[in-house]
């Protein structure tokens, strides 16, 4: 058994996890309206395949895409499509994107074609892949990368890592899932093993979740005893509680001591990494035939009356979810989707829960809004020690302020995972991650603008060339006409002479 490698950087953070783990998983009531954005994943957004006024069943595909890196969207409950149009999506910007809105009919009726699979054991790897793609399953850890795109690696896979680390403070949905549905997770792993054929499987769990570790280990032992599947190559690995131990690249470094190449994907080093929630969703889709229509969401924060983990239908407005959690105590609060480190502040509570929503954190402004006074950088280097990507945040900070795009590229700004470790450790309280997010969007705009300028230059040159050509052609035509005219004139004169000469001779 290999020993764990410690990844460089990271910080120890207070967990606040017990807030939401005291009570069992609950279900939020069926909302009257479901808002389903067409883009809930990385890659191409899906295109609607239904029209306003259509009746849809729960689990019916309402938007689909042919692209490899994409995922279809399903109706999360039965009802009528009442609108397809722009609605504010859960994103920091508060921008509206196209969403499909369903008015639920209260029956919550599954599509008649959705039924349990009697023979999951006889499905081929390709059939499993196809079903996962059709079920719209994406990475439920928060990155929402379409899972089907991970399951067709172009090289052999050595290690399948199931990510149950959940390193962000406050979030406990994966913890709750592992405690209660370890069976489904292990069934999911057995399915994934048939698709990927890895040499070994590792379930990585942070060591601050002893109950989850115990639950998964005892379920594995039961599987072995009852001979449900060969679980010999599956092992549970507790990892130290250091943020961001659950980052894909950091986890691969810890478990396999391999580094994912820059701009590369884990399969290039023979690793596939999937979240425990995704694995359970894969079980649901293959065994129960059910697409991804709901997910576990941690509703937590000091301002929430009943913090717990809730099974929420995708598309449920955040306000409905919060009402189910007993409402919010204070009047002025921040709503954060995700954790306190990498989450996004929501523009309002009318936005829906999407596939990426692992946590809704409600914090009172005293704790989240009041920013400490920012002091000048003293070049202490604490940020460089904390950076889990081994970047140099203080260099990046100077260049981000000056918008030196070449330098930012040189210091690999694009590799920043925006984990926030540098901001946490900074003794001058510089919001470093904010600077990097700002610089990333500036850089992207600069790139787009210079590409557009190149395009405009080419179009200008093409237009000039065309105008030149037309002018030349006109001149040529003119010259040709003139020549023709003269030729004609000459011919006429000649004829005149000829016609005159016989006259003369006859006369």
């Amino acid at each position: 058994m290999k020993s764990l490698i410690r990844f460089r950087g990271g910080v120890k953070l207070p967990g606040f996890k017990s807030l939401s783990t005291k009570s069992p998983i609950q279900k939020t009531p069926l909302p009257s309206r479901l808002i389903l954005p067409l883009r809930q994943h990385i890659g191409e957004s899906a295109n609607p395949v239904v029209e306003i006024g259509d009746y849809v069943y729960k689990g019916q595909i309402i938007a689909d895409s042919n692209s490899f890196v994409s995922a279809p969207i399903h109706a999360s409950s039965s009802g009528k499509i009442i609108n397809i149009g722009p609605y504010t999506i859960p994103h920091q910007s508060g921008i509206a994107e196209t969403c499909i809105v369903i008015e639920t009919d209260g029956k919550d009726q599954w599509h008649p074609n959705i039924k349990q699979c009697d023979v999951p054991g006889s499905l081929s790897a390709d059939q499993i892949r196809k079903k996962i793609k059709q079920a719209g399953i994406v990475g439920l850890g928060g990155a929402v990368f379409p899972s089907s795109a991970k399951l067709k690696p172009t090289r052999e896979i050595d290690t399948l890592i199931i990510n149950g680390v959940e390193c962000e403070p406050y979030i406990t949905c994966d913890d709750a899932l592992m405690r209660t549905k370890a069976d489904e997770i292990i069934h999911g792993i057995l399915l994934l093993r048939r698709v990927l054929n890895p040499i070994e499987c590792v379930i990585a769990i942070e060591n601050n979740k002893p109950e989850a570790i115990k639950a998964v280990r005892s379920t594995l032992a039961r599987f072995k005893e009852e001979n449900i599947g060969s679980v010999n190559t599956i092992r549970v690995v507790p990892v130290p509680t250091i943020f961001p131990a659950g980052g894909e690249k950091q986890l691969i470094k810890q478990i396999c001591n391999k580094e994912v190449p820059q701009h590369g994907l884990p399969y290039e080093v023979g690793v596939v990494c999937l979240n425990v929630g995704t694995t359970a969703a894969i079980y649901d889709c293959i065994y129960q035939g059910r697409p991804l229509v709901s997910r576990l969401v941690t509703i937590t924060g000091e301002a929430v009356n009943h913090p717990a983990n809730y099974q929420v239908l995708i598309g449920t407005p955040v306000e409905d979810v919060l009402a189910a959690a007993g409402g919010v105590q204070a009047s002025k609060v921040d709503f954060i989707m995700g954790g306190p480190m990498m989450g996004q502040v929501l523009p309002d509570t009318g936005v829906p829960v999407v596939k990426a929503t692992n946590c809704l954190l409600v914090k009172t402004p005293e704790k989240s809004k009041k920013q400490p006074v920012q002091l000048p950088c003293i070049r202490c280097g604490a940020c460089a020690n904390a950076c889990p990507m081994q970047l140099l945040p203080q260099q990046l900070y100077w260049h981000a302020r000056g918008k030196h795009f070449e330098k930012l590229n040189h210091y690999n700004l694009t590799d920043c995972i925006e984990c926030g470790c540098c901001s946490v450790v900074c003794p001058s309280k510089i919001p470093l991650v904010h600077y990097f997010r700002f610089a990333k969007t500036e850089m992207r705009e600069h790139e787009v603008k210079s590409k557009f300028a190149d395009q405009s230059r080419l179009r200008m040159l093409a237009r000039d060339a065309r105008l030149e050509r037309i002018k030349k052609e006109q001149e040529e035509r003119k010259a040709r006409r003139k020549a023709e005219r003269e030729k004609k004139k000459a011919a006429n004169q000649k004829q005149k002479q000829i016609s005159e000469s016989p006259k003369a001779s006859s006369g």
Partner: protein, 186 residues
Amino acid sequence: MAILILTLLALVFGLGLGYTAIRFKVEGDPIVEKIDALLPQTQCGQCGYPGCRPYAEAIASDEAEINQCPPGGEAGVQSLADLLGRDPLPLNPENGVAEEGPSMVAVINEATCIGCTKCVQICPVDAIAGAAKHIHNVLDAYCTGCELCLPPLCPVDECIVMRPVEQTIKTWKWNNPETLKESEAA
């Protein structure tokens, strides 16, 4: 004797220089390319030259100052100053003011377009499609927002107008933490 040697040397070097001048002749002025690469390519003509390249040529031949391009803004002047080793100047107000905010594209009101083709002919990047007595349309993916097609060129009022490019998730930008700091201090 010394005179002879020096004359010979001068001859040899002269021949060498003459040969390299012909052999490694540079087509065009490379500094023009470099200046042109820094200009925003809106082709708007606000600088007083008919397009970005003519302006680049004018800068290279010292006919024009580096502060005549409003679409490039102060940042554009700065990058030109860096390239040419000159002092940055504030934008010349005679050429117009740098506009803040989202980039704009032209849009044609189909109801009032009379199909005169004037805008089609003037568009420096061929971003307007149309034929005589047919409705014209702006291909907004190519429109640089140069405003050359706006009235008085367009004979119809309210036919061609500028509208801001809609913001998407891909074009949305984080606010500058620096400005946040200032607002807090104030």
